[in-house]
């Protein structure tokens, strides 16, 4: 797929995500926007799957460790044809029909295992998705399937101890059927990452845990005016190819991104981790995105 088309899809994804959060008056926009290009690259270039059979075991697997960014995730799934468009209306809404305890017919705020909709994981508690992805990568090896497991993780998730337990285990088991992308937007729920704790150096950590590291982090204070890799489809495509050529070890892409990318009012603003727009904001930002789409 050409880059122009991917850019259009990323724009479309942002519009859908905005609608989801606005209509539900609840959800995580900032982290959905930082991951928009990553999700498009995954769903429309890297992953191999049969959109008519989201529950096929032969499909490549995607795991969203940063489970809060469902606006972006469900938007990507819907654009990819894995999720019927009308299901988006159920986002974060109660299911009035299904008895308590059964598989709901609605899209939860954080993803829950639902293979018929192509959701193979249950996340929302950071770090658990990384371990689940490793469990799946092991299961794929055991079954001899040629699938690949893709994993999207966040800088907030790097602060969970389980992440590093998982990192060590993936390398020990030589899981080269696993590729992770770290969405380095440098913001988390309360504040900037560097004002919450310190993660630097990030790439060196993963390297020392035995992973193939593609790309390098740009610390937040140093990246003004820098073109950021996580929004650059050319970089993403090449980085995935490089990651997949690694043998005998899992790989991670360090994708430098902007939280809230695409809507200037919310870019790099810690307040926009989990806030929902007013009607005026929604209409204004939608117009911004539509204007961008018209020139793509």
């Amino acid at each position: 797929m050409d880059i122009r088309e991917k850019k259009r899809l990323a724009n479309k994804l942002r519009q859908i995500a905005l609608r989801l959060v606005y209509e539900a008056q609840s959800g995580h926009l900032g982290g959905s926007y930082s991951a928009a290009e990553i999700l498009v690259e995954l769903y429309f270039e890297q992953m191999r799957y049969d959109r008519k059979r989201p529950d096929s075991l032969e499909n490549d697997i995607f795991v969203l460790d940063k489970g809060h960014v469902t606006p972006g995730f469900y938007a990507a799934q819907s654009l990819a044809g894995l999720l019927p468009g009308d299901m988006l209306k159920t986002y974060r809404r109660i299911d009035p029909k299904t008895p308590p305890g059964e598989q709901m017919g609605t899209l939860q705020g954080h993803p829950k295992f639902w293979p018929k909709r192509g959701i193979w994981f249950s996340t929302g508690s950071l770090g658990t998705g990384i371990s689940q992805a490793i469990g799946m990568a092991i299961a794929e090896r055991m079954a001899g399937r040629k699938t690949h497991v893709y994993l999207l993780v966040s800088d907030g998730g790097m602060q969970e101890g389980i992440t590093w337990e998982a990192a060590r285990n993936a390398a020990y088991h030589k899981l080269d059927n696993l590729t992770a992308v770290l969405d380095l937007n440098w913001l988390q729920n309360d504040d900037f990452v560097f004002k919450t704790t310190e993660l630097l150096p990030v790439g060196d950590k993963w390297k020392s845990f035995g992973w193939e590291v593609v790309g390098s982090e740009i610390p937040f204070p140093e990246r003004n005016g820098t073109s950021l890799s996580g929004h650059d489809f050319e970089w993403l495509s090449q980085a995935f190819q490089k990651a997949k050529s690694a043998r005998g070890k899992p790989a991670i892409l360090l994708a430098n991104t902007v939280k809230g990318k695409g809507v200037p009012e919310i870019e790099n603003d810690p307040d926009w981790h989990a806030k929902s727009p007013t009607r005026e904001q929604y209409e204004k930002w939608l117009a911004t995105l539509q204007a961008e789409a018209s020139i793509l």
Binding site: G101, S122, T128, M136, R168, Y172
Partner: protein, 339 residues
């Protein structure tokens, strides 16, 4: 169900406990896993305690994942000392149709509890979870190793069953039965070798309590390692002109409401005995069952009320009132009598 035991199996004519050949319940688990491994498709996850949880035989027979000679066909997965990872990775395996058997000490499972509930319980997967070395019976390692909250934790999971076998035979049968049970099966085992209570003819059934001693007026209810001291306590109480019944509940959750309601018909006092906190464990399971059966009775809950200490299992059971004398004292105390 009824499985009446002979007192002569446990005590001599003078009422002293007989010397019996004790066996490890963890051995029963480890041996059953090897037998099950031939027919059932599952993997075992270990966190550097395989010598203690007795999964080494499974590991030898079915191989380590990724290592020679089985490579990708190896069915034992080394997680290292990473219980949180182990419990969440189990969810990934289950998602792709591979049944996980999670094994470590009960204490360290508590660390993996949240990843387990997120990755296994919420998606509704089947998993067998072994928590070995439960309770103060763990002994000299002290309170850091003595889980007294694990049963309570697992009882709160909507799709979990909690079992605590009382001897080798029951542990072996329970392990086999667990593979037929949907949802999460949490099996809590003790560290110590336990005296034999059940013969091969015994049939473990999920959710069924076992009346070991018939009686009237007082009903003792025990599980796991405390069933043996409860049994000895019952023999002592019989010499005090009391006629206690003893019910062993190998399935702590869901408790056998039928056997408890039946007993309640001629019981004024229930006494529960567990090597676990009396809050959230067997004692509360019995209280709930009696309440739900509309059979409110006085229930004295014997359990571990504080964080304990190092000591031999026998010393600890004596000091913390889980041995036969301790149980007898609490029963008599509740009746306003003294030993």
């Amino acid at each position: 169900m009824r499985y009446p035991v002979e007192f002569s199996q446990f005590v001599d004519d003078s009422g002293k406990p007989k010397a019996v050949e004790r066996r490890y319940v963890r051995d029963a688990f480890g041996e059953a896993l090897v037998e099950l491994g031939v027919e059932k498709n599952f993997v075992v996850l270990g966190a550097d305690l395989d010598k203690s949880t007795k999964t080494l035989k499974f590991r030898e027979k079915f191989g380590e994942f990724g290592k020679e000679p089985f490579y990708e066909k190896g069915r034992w997965i080394s997680c290292g000392v990473s219980e949180a990872f182990m419990c969440a990775a189990a969810g990934g395996l289950a998602a792709r149709g591979v049944k996980p058997v999670i094994t470590t000490f009960a204490r360290f499972l508590e660390r993996g509890f949240e990843p387990l509930l997120q990755s296994v319980a919420i998606p509704g997967f089947d998993a067998f979870v072994l928590g070995s070395h439960g309770g103060i019976g763990t002994g000299q390692d002290g309170s850091s190793a003595q889980a007294i909250e694990d049963i309570a934790l697992f009882r709160t999971l909507p799709n979990a069953t909690v079992i605590c076998p009382a001897d080798y035979e029951e542990a072996k049968q329970a392990t086999f039965a667990a593979f037929e049970c949907p949802g999460i099966v949490y099996m809590r085992l003790s560290r110590n070798p336990l005296p034999p209570i059940f013969a091969k003819e015994y049939l473990f059934q999920f959710g069924k309590g076992v009346e070991l001693i018939p009686g009237k007026g007082i009903t003792l209810v025990s599980t796991g390692e405390t069933t043996y001291p409860a049994l000895l306590a019952a023999t002592k109480l019989k010499t005090q002109k009391l006629n206690p019944r003893l019910i062993h509940l190998p399935t702590v959750h869901p408790p056998d409401q039928t056997v408890l309601a039946e007993a309640a018909q001629d019981t004024e006092l229930f006494v529960t005995v567990e090597d676990h906190s009396p809050r959230g464990g067997l004692g509360d399971a019995v209280l709930e069952a009696l309440s739900q059966a509309n059979a409110p009775r006085q229930v004295v809950k014997i359990g571990v009320e504080v964080y304990a200490e190092s000591g031999t299992p026998a010393e600890l059971y004596q000091k913390y009132g889980l041995d036969a004398d301790g149980i007898v004292r609490r029963v008599l105390g509740a009746l306003g009598k003294k030993l």
